[in-house]
């Protein structure tokens, strides 16, 4: 019985050499998951080979196609985990910073409060899954799943750096914006489906709020793409590497996009749909337990996406203004996440300092203030473009 050592089952070949390598550029999460499967698959294959030497299963486990398939599965988990931890950290950041704004401590238990947020989230999963009788079953369940689904989908699609992406569309921003803009319809239908007065009003308000804030956002995305020359997120960030970060020329655009992003992700001072003193919980009134926990998580995913879009378009994604220690070659993802959390920090300060805006005021600010500002921003960029500055 010939004994083959584990080493010849678990080689760590270069990822790119695999025939079925799905990307044309080096992809870090795929590399991690590839090696993980090499380790895992290799040991399983080696064990089976020990029991039954020379059997086809172990060779099957290690051949290129199978490794690629399992690597893709682990690839999904890795991407989701990183985004999930990023959102949890932004949730923890919100509770700590909001606490300190109000002269009190934020969460305390667990690693400086982080585990308490995880525990709170996990607690909601443990709660009983109640379904109120008078609720329209289908809409109640489906719209919830769709809202959470789209939010998590966009969060995972955001590339953290040149080598950390799921797929490198050359219309990156547009797709994110499209899916980002889907949520109001689901919220409207779920608010209506819950057969409860408060959620009906909450649903309608969510719809009118988000529709009226997508228009300025799309204009500003168009202006950034115009300035950078393409919609592809990688190109936009590289364009900002060549010239300055875009928030300097587009300072008007930066501020309006920041406010539109807070409105779009339903964060105070624009949270008229969700938790409001007179609407109690808005469209989330009838959801409880795990459903409500997931909605809260989806809200924070949408907050994370909004901040990520701000960093991509205006704060130069994963670039550092000057990079003495070449950090950027090793950890561009961390710089991207830190910038996203900084924008989120500004959203938290906004939440702590300002009161909630009235629905009709929101609409008139949306159409009468942010729309013209985004057009002005477009004009500025056009002049800069024609003037040949950028």
């Amino acid at each position: 019985m010939v004994y083959s050592s584990i080493l010849n089952w678990v080689q760590f070949p270069d990822v790119m050499s695999n025939m079925y390598y799905p990307f044309n550029v080096y992809n870090l999460p795929y590399d991690i998951s590839y090696k993980l499967w090499e380790l895992l698959g290799g040991t399983i294959a080696w064990l089976i080979n020990l029991l039954v030497p020379g059997n086809p299963v172990s060779t099957w486990l290690v051949c290129d196609e199978v490794v690629n398939m399992f690597a893709l599965i682990i690839f999904m988990i890795v991407i989701f985990l990183v985004v999930f931890i990023g959102t949890l950290i932004s949730l923890w950041e919100e509770r700590k910073v909001l606490g300190r704004l109000m002269d009190r401590r934020g969460t305390m238990i667990g690693m400086k409060g982080f585990l308490q947020c995880v525990a709170d989230g996990f607690k909601t999963f443990m709660k009983e899954n109640t379904m109120p009788k008078k609720v329209d079953k289908m809409t109640y369940m489906w719209t919830l799943a769709l809202v959470i689904g789209t939010s998590v989908l966009i969060a995972c699609m955001i590339p953290l750096s040149q080598r950390w992406f799921v797929v490198d569309y050359n219309t990156g921003l547009l797709i994110i914006m499209a899916l980002f803009a889907l949520a109001p319809f689901f919220i409207l239908v779920s608010g209506w489906g819950q057969n409860n007065k408060y959620s009906l009003i909450g649903g309608m308000r969510a719809a009118e709020l988000m529709i009226s804030y997508e228009v300025p956002m799309l204009i500003m995305i168009a202006t950034t793409a115009l300035m950078a020359g393409s919609f592809n997120i990688g190109d936009i960030v590289n364009a900002q590497f060549d010239s300055t970060w875009y928030f300097i020329p587009q300072i008007v655009g930066f501020i309006t996009f920041f406010f539109c992003a807070t409105a779009e992700s339903e964060r105070p001072p624009f949270d008229i749909a969700e938790a409001e003193t007179e609407l109690v919980e808005g469209w989330q009134t009838e959801y409880a337990g795990m459903k409500w926990g997931l909605i809260m998580l989806a809200d924070y995913f949408r907050g994370y996406v909004a901040c990520a879009m701000v960093t991509i378009m205006y704060l130069g994604g994963w670039l550092l203004p000057w990079d003495p220690l070449q950090i950027n070659t090793y950890l561009p993802e961390i710089t991207f996440l830190i910038k996203t959390w900084f924008v989120f920090f500004m959203m938290i300060i906004l939440r702590g300092a300002i009161a909630r805006v009235r629905p009709d005021q929101i609409l008139n600010i949306g159409w009468k203030v942010f729309m013209p500002l985004s057009v002005i921003n477009l004009a500025i960029v056009l002049m800069l473009k024609i003037g040949g500055v950028y």
């Binding site: 910073v97 606490g99 300190r100 704004l101 002269d103 009190r104 401590r105 305390m108 300060i349 906004l350 702590g352 300092a353 300002i354 600010i365 203030v369």
Partner: protein, 249 residues
């Protein structure tokens, strides 16, 4: 008398030019954010840290076991009637009546401490009174007597008489329980000795005043002015209500 706030923020200060002005609140909030991060914020983390309460804080009532003369004034003065006199063994072994407070009903108003003539009932700053059952909330005399009662937990009843103020001596403060005394309406008294038995401080002695028709001595109660604490026990228990309290004003 200038009204600075209305001068600084007149009604129409936010003229349209500043409609979207929100910088000042953000500056104020971030200033506090920096202060709360650099120095300690104001919050007190309750289970680990506790707010200091001065001694005159009206937490649960406390009893100094030996000073109590079981006169029952606290029972009568309690607004929610949550105090009872209970038989209990004192240090030297004989049974004695001491107040027992039902903290579940107590309104923490401090009347028992205020109207106690000998300041046996006091106010303690103890405020962590949670229990598992309602019966545990009933504090017996021994449990009431927590050890660290000091004198500034006492509540003094110091009143000035209106007659004092009229004749100019308004500095003098007096405890109303030390001046009002019961007065006997001798026609109603049937010399049944009940008031003598009921008086907690033994201030009442029965004095003989001749013999009645059936040859039994006529006994009228006579109150010892300085030991009486005006606890209304004799007034309430007299079957013929021969005694009434004469309030010195």
């Amino acid at each position: 008398m200038v009204m600075e706030f209305l001068k600084k923020y007149p009604y129409d200060k936010n003229i349209p030019r500043r409609t979207l002005w929100i910088m000042k609140p953000i500056v104020v909030v971030s200033k506090l954010f920096v202060k709360a991060v650099v120095h300690r914020d104001v919050a007190i983390l309750y289970p680990y840290e506790d707010l200091w309460m001065p001694d005159n804080y009206r937490g649960r009532p406390g009893l100094r076991f030996d000073k109590c003369i079981s006169c029952g004034i606290c029972v009568r003065m309690c607004p929610t009637s949550c105090i009872e006199l209970v038989e209990v063994l004192d240090d030297s072994g004989n049974t004695v009546k001491r107040p027992q407070v039902n903290i579940g009903r107590c309104a923490f108003c401090g009347y028992c401490a205020e109207y106690c003539p000998v300041n046996a009932m006091t106010v303690t700053p103890e405020k962590e009174l949670a229990e598992y059952t309602r019966e545990d909330l009933i504090y017996g005399p021994r449990r009431l007597a927590c050890d660290k009662i000091n004198e500034n937990m006492e509540v003094h009843l110091e009143e000035t008489l209106m007659s004092d103020i009229k004749n100019g001596n308004s500095e003098r403060r007096v405890n109303s329980f030390m001046i009002d005394r019961p007065i006997l309406d001798s026609s109603k008294c049937i010399s049944c000795r009940k008031c003598e038995k009921v008086c907690p401080v033994k201030a009442i002695k029965m004095i003989e005043h001749g013999v009645n028709a059936k040859g039994r001595p006529i006994l009228w109660p006579e109150v010892n002015k300085d030991t009486c604490v005006c606890c209304h026990n004799c007034v309430d228990d007299c079957p013929k209500s021969a005694l009434h309290m004469d309030e010195v004003l």
